[in-house]
């Protein structure tokens, strides 16, 4: 579009005009909050937060710092038999089993912190008064100098940044540092890629032995359900065979009760699924009228609120695109217990009745106000979170991959 010129009767502003306008128009800017250029939907965090189960604390056993889930591993030994009396006064022998069917699974909980600081002079420069006995507040003339209240902006970006890091951490397997600040290697929370991964026999989770297959999640990166080997170059199924293999995993997740109720997928998986559903039955892709209450979807979650709903369904559950998969891939290179399957190719079939975010009571993203040091006039604000991501069943969850072609 051409700039207005003198011939149209309009004049461009001179530098002097701009300066003088600036003196009188600051108040208008005050109404504007910064428009977030980096905001992103976080469907995993949102879904987990919606069903979080606070934990009351406690040591959880000799090892301490763990959240304990009780699990039944089997129905135990059995003395079941059909019996019949062998004579009028002779009863058939029956026996009684000793049951040992439960185990405890321990999930270490972890602590996260973020914070910011301002000097008294800096806040004053922004028209904000603060003292040892008063919280930050705008001065009487703040409106003359303040385009954005730096304190409010810092508080809001602290919360949003914290959510970003928590969400990323909840995707990763606990071996990676989600931020740039140095941390001790074992400090990170064990996230989704820890509990539902591509190589479950490589992990000891919660103190359960590696070989206990009842404690393995399902996985499939193109070799077949729960078959381990070299990851194919395509990193997953082509569209022609994708749906059949998804159905196989779906049934495996259903075998011991319940159905997956939350499907989270990366970009290439969704591309592959779109191709697959176009050539298969249309019921996979379109279900008119089921947008608000699809029959298998977790009823506590609202699809329309998810923001990244793809318009695709599988067995009545909407497929949600997760933009955080890209950030997770940048951290771990798509390594899931060293099986390299990029996040963009993955789809997680989760049953949120058996996976919980467990913040410690009173420690769920709480604001902190550390005291000021006596040696400076810097003021500190922080935020902390403590908790764990836990499962009380793993064989109801699965992860499958598609090549995208």
């Amino acid at each position: 579009m051409a700039l207005p010129t003198a011939s149209t009767g309009q004049m461009t502003l001179t530098a002097t005009d701009v300066t003088s306008l600036g003196y009188v128009s600051l108040a208008n800017f005050l109404k504007n909050k910064p428009i977030d250029q980096v905001a992103q939907q976080r469907p995993l965090l949102k879904a987990l937060m919606a069903k979080k189960k606070p934990y009351g604390g406690g040591s959880g056993g000799a090892a301490g710092k763990t959240i304990v889930e009780q699990v039944r591993t089997s129905y135990g030994s059995s003395e079941f038999k059909w019996f019949g009396d062998t004579g009028l006064a002779t009863g058939d022998d029956v026996a009684y089993a000793v049951k040992d069917t439960t185990r405890q699974v321990h999930f270490p909980w972890n602590s996260a912190h973020d914070g910011f600081k301002f000097s008294e002079d800096y806040l004053l420069g922004n028209g904000i008064l603060i003292g040892d006995s008063q919280n930050p507040r705008n001065s009487g003339d703040a409106s003359l100098v303040q385009l954005t209240n730096v304190f409010n902006e810092a508080m809001e970006s602290l919360r949003l940044g914290f959510e970003e890091m928590l969400d990323l951490s909840l995707h990763l397997d606990g071996q990676y540092n989600p931020g740039s600040t140095a941390m001790t290697p074992n400090a990170a929370i064990n996230g989704l890629d820890y509990l539902v991964n591509m190589n479950p026999s490589a992990l000891g989770i919660g103190g359960i032995a590696f070989g206990e297959t009842w404690w393995h999640n399902h996985f499939d990166y193109g070799l077949g359900l729960d078959i381990s080997g070299a990851v194919p170059a395509a990193k997953g199924y082509p569209n022609a065979t994708l749906i059949a293999n998804m159905q196989t995993m779906w049934r495996a997740c259903q075998k011991n009760g319940g159905s997956p109720n939350f499907l989270l997928a990366g970009t290439d998986f969704i591309k592959g699924y779109e191709l697959a559903s176009a050539t298969a039955m249309s019921r996979y892709a379109v279900q008119p009228g089921s947008m608000s209450a699809p029959w298998n979807y977790d009823p506590s979650l609202e699809i329309k609120d998810m923001g990244t709903f793809t318009g695709l369904f599988f067995n009545g559950v909407p497929i949600i695109w997760d933009p955080s998969f890209d950030a997770a891939n940048a951290k771990d290179g798509g390594s899931s217990m060293n099986k390299i399957v990029p996040w963009t190719n993955r789809c997680y079939m989760l049953n949120l009745n058996h996976m919980f975010l467990r913040p410690i009571e009173g420690n769920d993203m709480i604001a902190r106000k550390p005291p000021r040091e006596h040696t400076s006039y810097n003021y500190y604000w922080g935020m902390t979170w403590r908790g764990a991501l836990t499962v009380n069943r793993r064989n109801c969850h699965g992860v499958i991959s598609a090549s995208g072609a």
């Binding site: 090892a63 763990t66 089997s74 321990h106 999930f107 270490p108 397997d173 606990g174 071996q175 990676y176 540092n177 740039s180 140095a182 290697p185 074992n186 064990n190 820890y194 190589n199 026999s201 490589a202 992990l203 000891g204 989770i205 919660g206 103190g207 590696f210 297959t213 009842w214 393995h216 070799l223 077949g224 729960d226 078959i227 381990s228 080997g229 070299a230 990851v231 495996a252 940048a330 951290k331 771990d332 290179g333 390594s335 217990m337 060293n338 390299i340 064989n395």
Partner: protein, 117 residues
């Protein structure tokens, strides 16, 4: 694409979180520095499938994301990109000598079905 010889490691993050998997040989020093000798058990070399990398540059980037630059510098020196690339090249060449074939890095089809309850 290159296939790198691996070694099995067991990482004991805490009493209840234990990771076992294969890592390429050149990653062992970084893993050791990161987790410390008390948390890391190094197993046998070359018993499992090789580790596949697209390029030396991408592999350095993966390690950069995994361990962070300070850790890589502390482990492999300031020129860690060159040191790692050199180590990768050497490992590929050594494997060729041992195997005697042109392309030692072919994946073995070691599929293993897992039995479910």
């Amino acid at each position: 694409m290159y296939l790198m010889p691996t070694v099995e490691v067991e990482i004991r993050k805490d009493n209840f979180s234990i990771y076992t998997y294969d890592i390429p040989l050149y990653e062992v020093p970084a893993t050791l520095n990161h987790w410390g000798p008390e948390s890391l058990t190094i197993g046998e070399k070359g018993v499992s499938e090789p580790f596949e990398i697209e390029s030396y540059e991408q592999e350095v980037e993966r390690l950069w994301h995994k361990y962070g630059e300070p850790q890589l510098r502390a482990t492999y020196g300031a020129q860690y990109q060159e040191a790692l690339s050199k180590a990768m090249k050497e490992h590929v060449e050594k494997e060729r000598v041992i195997d005697g074939s042109e392309n030692t890095a072919q994946p073995k089809n070691g599929t293993s079905p897992e039995t479910r309850v």
